[in-house]
């Protein structure tokens, strides 16, 4: 039984294509908060599947379009995954089923801050400008730093290859986390 996390389910409900989300967001930007209807539809918002193009199209993507990202998880473990240019970091976590507790609760709709990631200085400086709406959600993030961004808003580019992003510590107390899923 797969552990219940957000990841595999997110895949089923079609996680954001960064390009799509941005387009939709721009569309709604003239009237942010205009019912939220511009970004999502349905009581459980499901976004237009940006990844339903065929396998052949995927196969045609050369290794040129691949970007490797290292995630330092809360327990210090390093998770390495590959995504393609244009994918958001949330897409990568979801597609590769990376085991990060509670990541992407609102599924990339800028309604939570659970995909908060901390970037290396030299990468952070080169990221696209941050919107007010992303800043608003970051205000509520745990362990906010000078180089914090939301993973759902950062789309992979070539210069990010081999970058390392850190998942902030979420729990207030620094207890040793127990995992009885492996050795009980």
């Amino acid at each position: 039984m797969a552990a219940p996390g957000t990841a595999s389910l997110l895949r089923a409900s079609a996680a954001s294509s960064c390009r799509w989300l941005l387009a939709a967001f721009r569309g709604a930007a003239g009237r942010p908060g205009g019912g939220g209807g511009g970004v999502v539809s349905g009581s459980v918002a499901v976004r237009t599947p940006g990844r339903f193009f065929g396998v052949s199209a995927r196969a045609r993507l050369s290794s040129e379009d691949k970007v490797t990202v290292h995630f330092i998880n809360r327990d210090g473990d390093k998770l390495t995954a590959e995504g393609k240019v244009g994918d958001s970091l949330l897409d990568v976590v979801v597609d590769k089923n990376l085991d990060i507790d509670g990541f992407g609760a609102c599924e990339g709709t800028l309604a939570c801050s659970t995909c908060h990631l901390i970037f290396e200085d030299h990468i952070f400086e080169k990221l696209d400008a941050i919107t007010d709406e992303e800043m608003d959600m970051l205000d509520l993030a745990y362990g906010l730093t000078e180089t914090s961004r939301l993973g759902c808003q950062i789309c992979l580019k070539k210069f990010m290859n081999n970058m390392t992003v850190r998942v902030p510590e979420a729990v207030a107390d620094a207890r040793q986390s127990i995992d009885m899923s492996k050795n009980s």
């Binding site: 939570c112 007010d132 205000d139």
Partner: protein, 487 residues
């Protein structure tokens, strides 16, 4: 010969492996912790999720008073915030785990006692939230036209107990006492263009009532000043940008704040800057024209503490509110509002008190702090009650956004896992879990609603919504829900 021996040996070894595997399975099955969670809102589901993920054998049963799950995600989150409701996808996945069961329509404390749950489970997690609200405690609070924001939210979100609220929306001015996110939610729902609301999962009854609403001005009143507002910036920005409305902000309230906030933490700083900007700066062209053509308005009123709801001539209907003007003693989050002796009256026929939700004790055997409105606990362990835990609002009080509840629920689950590992929770005491609860429920004539029952209700709601161009049309009558699933 050699090869045949090899094959026999291999088969034998494989059979042995299966046998030992089997016996290990038997012994571990006996040691599977039986855990139950009371309440199926975000706190309950996030606690369950963490337990299931980090314990390979734990069985987690989630009990819910209503037939339908998800608590405040269904009944609290505003209908025009569907993004937040995406968490339901993850909760649904949790409920689909073969080690997780959902039992709706079961009221703990009435149908089953906590003591009985503790006999059936190794650990009981209380995450039943805050079902009540704080009251103003002023004369006239019971007049017609005065409602708690909690009831109003329950009404437009289809909470069964509030479905017949029928709020009086015939007055032009509404006053919301309180300046938190719930206050902004109700103001937004009262002022939103119908075209926006009708595409949400707001109930058809409340949509029809709001369509006839005369409300065109909403005041959000706080006892303290702009530096003490409780709402968060996303909700404020949304309000400022709400089509068809303009903000009413008195420049005097915001002048000079720029210097004060230089050293406050970023969230408060950005929130205040947004208010200051909207109140003091000349709006851009688009914004200016939107404000000019707006037919509805909303505003923030500071340093006013409610004294009395004023009755109309008939003595039954509210016609206004009398408030004590206050000044602040101290500064920052801990500033206190002290009456100056001055009094102000505001005419309004609709008054919504939005000064906070409140948890209630489940039964007298469980420790409860009536002053803080929480179950006293340390890291989710209920004080003086081994085997009993709490998470969510009943653990830390009714504040915070989804990530706050998620983290605090993971924390509580972590405490349970620690106690399992340390042996504080003794798995050698075999517990029957739902098996024994089932017989209790059966003997009391209570029929629990399963998750697949809920999925039938869900499908029916979605189908009804589709006809109206909405994501769903909620069933608001529990009897109708139970009828639908053949209970």
């Amino acid at each position: 010969m050699g090869s045949s021996c090899g094959r026999v040996c291999w088969e034998w070894a494989s059979r042995l492996r299966r046998l030992t595997g089997f016996s290990r399975l038997l012994s571990t099955a006996a040691l599977a912790p039986q855990i139950c969670v009371v309440g199926s809102g975000p706190a309950g589901f996030y606690t369950a999720q963490h337990l299931l993920k980090h314990h390979r054998l734990a069985q987690v049963d989630i009990y819910e008073k209503l037939p339908v799950p998800f608590g405040l995600v269904r009944f609290g989150v505003a209908p025009d915030h569907p993004e937040v409701k995406n968490v339901i996808n993850t909760f649904t996945q949790t409920a689909h785990s073969d080690r997780c069961s959902y039992y709706g329509n079961v009221t703990i404390g009435k149908d089953v006692t906590v003591k009985e749950l503790q006999r059936a489970y190794h650990a009981v997690v209380l995450s039943y939230g805050a079902e009540d609200n704080r009251i103003l405690g002023i004369p006239g609070e019971n007049l017609s036209g005065v409602y708690s924001a909690r009831a109003f939210v329950g009404w437009y979100n289809g909470l069964p107990e509030n479905r017949d609220l029928k709020p009086d929306l015939s007055s032009e001015t509404a006053v919301v006492m309180g300046q938190g996110n719930v206050a902004l939610d109700v103001a937004r729902v009262l002022l939103s263009p119908l075209d926006i609301l009708k595409k949400t999962d707001i109930t058809e009854g409340s949509l029809a009532a709001i369509a006839c609403s005369k409300v065109k001005r909403v005041w959000l009143v706080g006892r303290r000043g702009p530096l003490q507002v409780a709402f968060t910036i996303k909700e404020l920005r949304e309000m400022i940008n709400l089509p068809g409305t303009r903000p009413l902000l008195d420049p005097a309230d915001f002048t000079g704040l720029g210097d004060v906030i230089k050293d406050v933490p970023r969230p408060r700083k950005r929130l205040t800057e947004l208010m200051v900007k909207s109140a003091l700066e000349k709006p851009g062209e688009r914004e200016a024209s939107r404000w000019a053509s707006a037919t509805k308005e909303w505003g923030l009123k500071f340093r006013c503490s409610p004294l009395e709801v004023l009755p109309a001539a008939d003595g039954k209907q509210a016609r206004g509110i009398r408030m004590a003007v206050t000044r602040l003693e101290g500064s920052g989050e801990s500033a206190r509002a002290v009456p100056t002796g001055e009094v102000e009256e505001l005419e309004c026929g609709l008054i919504l008190s939005s000064i906070g939700y409140r948890s209630l004790p489940l039964d007298s055997s469980i420790p409860f702090d009536p002053k803080l409105g929480i179950i006293p606990n340390s890291l989710g362990r209920v004080q003086g009650a081994p085997g009993l835990y709490c998470s969510g609002w009943v653990k830390r009080g009714p504040t915070g956004v989804i990530i706050t509840t998620m983290n605090d629920s993971f924390d509580t689950a972590q405490s349970v896992l620690e106690d399992l590992q340390s042996g504080l929770l003794k798995l050698s005491n075999s517990k029957e879990g739902f098996k024994s609860v089932r017989s209790i429920l059966h003997s009391r004539g209570v029929h629990p609603v399963t998750f697949s029952d809920w999925e039938k209700i869900d499908a029916a709601e979605v189908a009804r919504g589709k006809l109206a161009g909405k994501p769903r049309e909620k069933l608001v009558d529990p009897r109708e829900m139970l009828q639908l699933i053949g209970h």
